[in-house]
Symmetry: C2
Subunit: 449 residues, 2 copies
């Protein structure tokens, strides 16, 4: 490790040399098991030394093949039935198997590369990933796509634990949160760069949520867990199983309490009506509430400004990281729409605005690029999805930056969804205060070219 | 009735006089119970005589007060508990009661007005409204908001049965599909105009859907029904209760069958992933699949054109009526976005485009107005909601008109939602062909000023 660093030093400035020397001394004084494990921390800074963790957890995604297999085996179908069913649907059993094999091989490649460096590796399926794994590991590798990265990040609440994403199916996954696709089959190169310090830390700002006035303790529902047992639902929606006196007592006691939710959002918080169902249990009959496509009603206050009543398809509040995800899709414009706006602008102003394909493309690209901002930016970005403006409701800004956004639910049966994966009940009267705090950052890497 | 018509005639043209005379003669020859019940039919035509049905069904909405009451009574709370709970949530019990009273009074006003004219009236709650009511009635009045109109229309499959919407809470409901709000408290005026022929018929084109390759008989789930019993779910999702042999046999037999769904969409068909949950039943344990915010994958072919793979937040296919509803909200632009496009256009072209509030407002309004088209237009309008364009997927037109749209599902767990109220399973391999047919029109009225 020291040799790597010394060799790199020859190309550095005097200042860095001095800093490195100082750092090396202090590190040698401290724990020597992993000499360059914790470099000096500055936002998006270049570490003065390499990074080589002793213990790495590799969290793997569930492939579609595995999902379909579980789904149909659960329904009592055999592997042969599964094959036929998929064939009839025009899907390819062999196609799913192929993608599953690609993912599995890429995971093996990562694991072998790590072990070859003498790193202790633990491979963990997404269903088995928990706080214990996070505590055990010096670093966590997400082996899947962006969804798997979000899951991995969701259990890392400390800003010191590094998380690295590897896209195990570049042909199918976008992998915004993962290393560039060339490292998927050349993982040793990535390890080499990490070892040599040829990377920088990127501390991605995340969102925290305070929730008050819900009446019951806010219990989350994990939406990626394909199955939720009856008992879990009972616990999650306790109000229906309490007796009247308990209920009233609990309502009074806990109503005005504000809780800081035990989640940190890496992409966005989405608030909306009817995106999930609620299963209400009755001793004798099962009732399922299915509400669909109801507009979301709420009140919003940006940076402690005046409250405004709104009606829309929902509200997204994202981070710089998330500005390339759902928020981007909510706000971006198609060339067709930009062309139409420019055409109308042309006819309304009488100006001779050139409307060739290049201009339209450039305006569209510039518009869409302006929606993206840096992951380490300390600001939130809120967007109202499909605002409903009519005789009854109005809306000022459809989107903008803020430090803090408060939302009061006026919804019948709504939820607050974190990174598309965990949801909290957010019904009439509940108030969510959404903000950022430096301690919630997620430590990730950006490799140098 | 004849007197009304003759008095009105004095202001009409000679042509109309002749037509009216001819009509009067033919009507007198026919059934005289309701002499002017069925005027000559031409699209959006002026009837040559008035309209006075003998039997009218008034279908009423469920108010929020009724909903909350049912919800909490179901959970075992008393009216007093309900009051306290709402107060704690910052909601107003008295507010809900007030809106409930307004609606109820308006319904009474309608009913009294009808009976005063000697019309037989049957008041039917939305939960009791069925095909028998439709058969019984000469005309149906929807007493509620647009949602109630959609429900009423959903069970009227004949193009001859008139449907009239009355907005029973103008302060809270938009009522696009209802009569102008002034008739809510002055319903006798509306009746008078109908009687005198001072209105025209508007035949609203609706959408029909052919579905194939689903593997099981397509059974719909009524999303507005607040409760769905266990038995209904069993029937709806039969595959899990059949034995293996039955299943394979059924799959082979019914897979390639094309069914014309027993629905006609007045607003739109929306196809998307994960908008609802599926309850999968197992003898011993209840499992709930909750999938959220998954992108929808599908292939689309417009007017028998080439198939294109797409990924988005969903696909909307609407009618002229629906072009003012969800489709409008999906496609409309906020002034903020239009201003940004014009600003970038200005900087890219170097032209001195004036960007004052008026210009921006005019361009925005013209853009948004272009999204709306006539309810009797025979075309469909498709829109891709939040298209995802990246390394993996691309998309040509984000929206456009068509006579026919075919969609092949590539979704894990998706559905096709009709008018935001009824959903059909639409999973991997299923193909929906969406089109319009003249016989699917809905007969509604437009009163003259």
């Amino acid at each position: 490790m020291v040799v790597c660093a010394l060799i790199r030093m020859s190309g550095r400035s005097v200042v860095n040399l001095v800093r490195l020397g100082t750092r090396a001394v202090s590190l040698l004084k401290g724990s020597s098991l992993r000499p360059f494990h914790t470099p000096l921390r500055t936002a998006s800074s270049q570490p003065k030394a390499g990074f080589k963790p002793g213990k790495v957890a590799v969290v793997t995604k569930t492939t579609r093949y595995e999902f379909e297999q579980q789904r149909y085996l659960y329904a009592g179908l055999s592997e042969e039935d599964l094959k036929q069913l998929l064939a009839m649907k025009g899907s390819s059993y062999s196609g799913l198997l192929e993608r599953h094999a690609i993912h599995t091989n890429n995971v093996e490649h990562i694991v072998k590369s790590l072990r070859r460096e003498g790193i202790e590796v633990r491979v963990v399926k997404r269903g088995e990933y928990d706080e214990e794994v996070v505590r055990w590991a010096d670093a966590i590798i997400s082996a899947g796509g962006d969804g798997t990265m979000l899951l991995v990040a969701s259990k890392v609440l400390s800003k010191d634990k590094p998380v690295v994403g590897v896209n195990t199916d570049p042909e199918r996954s976008e992998g915004h949160l993962c290393l560039p696709v060339r490292y998927t089959r050349a993982f040793p190169e990535a390890l080499e760069k990490l070892c040599r310090g040829e990377f920088r830390w990127l501390w991605r700002q995340r969102i925290r949520v305070h929730l008050e006035g819900t009446g019951i303790n806010p219990t989350s529902v994990d939406l990626h867990e394909q199955q939720l047992s009856l008992e879990q639902h009972s616990r999650a929606h306790r109000i229906t199983t309490m007796d009247s006196q308990q209920r009233t007592g609990m309502l009074h006691d806990s109503f005005s309490k504000t809780s800081l939710l035990p989640i940190r959002s890496l992409n966005e918080i989405f608030i909306g009506e009817s995106l999930s169902s609620r299963v209400k249990l009755n001793a004798f009959k099962l009732h399922v509430n299915l509400l669909l496509h109801r507009a979301s009603y709420y009140e919003i206050s940006v940076d402690d400004g005046p409250w405004e009543k709104q009606k829309s398809s929902g509200l997204s509040i994202c981070t710089g990281t998330g500005s390339k995800a759902w928020s981007y899709n909510i706000n971006k414009l198609a060339e067709q729409a930009v062309e139409e706006v420019l055409k109308i602008g042309k006819s309304q102003t009488g100006l001779d605005i050139p409307l060739n394909r290049d201009i339209i493309e450039m305006v569209t690209d510039e518009y869409n690029e302006s929606l993206v901002f840096s992951p380490d930016d300390r600001r939130l970005f809120y967007s109202i999805r499909e605002p409903i403006i009519n005789r009854v409701f109005s809306s000022s800004q459809q989107r903008g930056f803020a430090s803090r956004v408060s939302v009061r639910s006026r919804c019948w049966d709504a939820c607050m969804v974190v990174d598309g994966g965990t949801s909290f009940e957010f019904n009439d009267g509940a108030i969510a205060t959404i903000s950022m705090s430096e301690e919630d950052q997620l430590r990730t890497v950006v490799l140098e070219h």
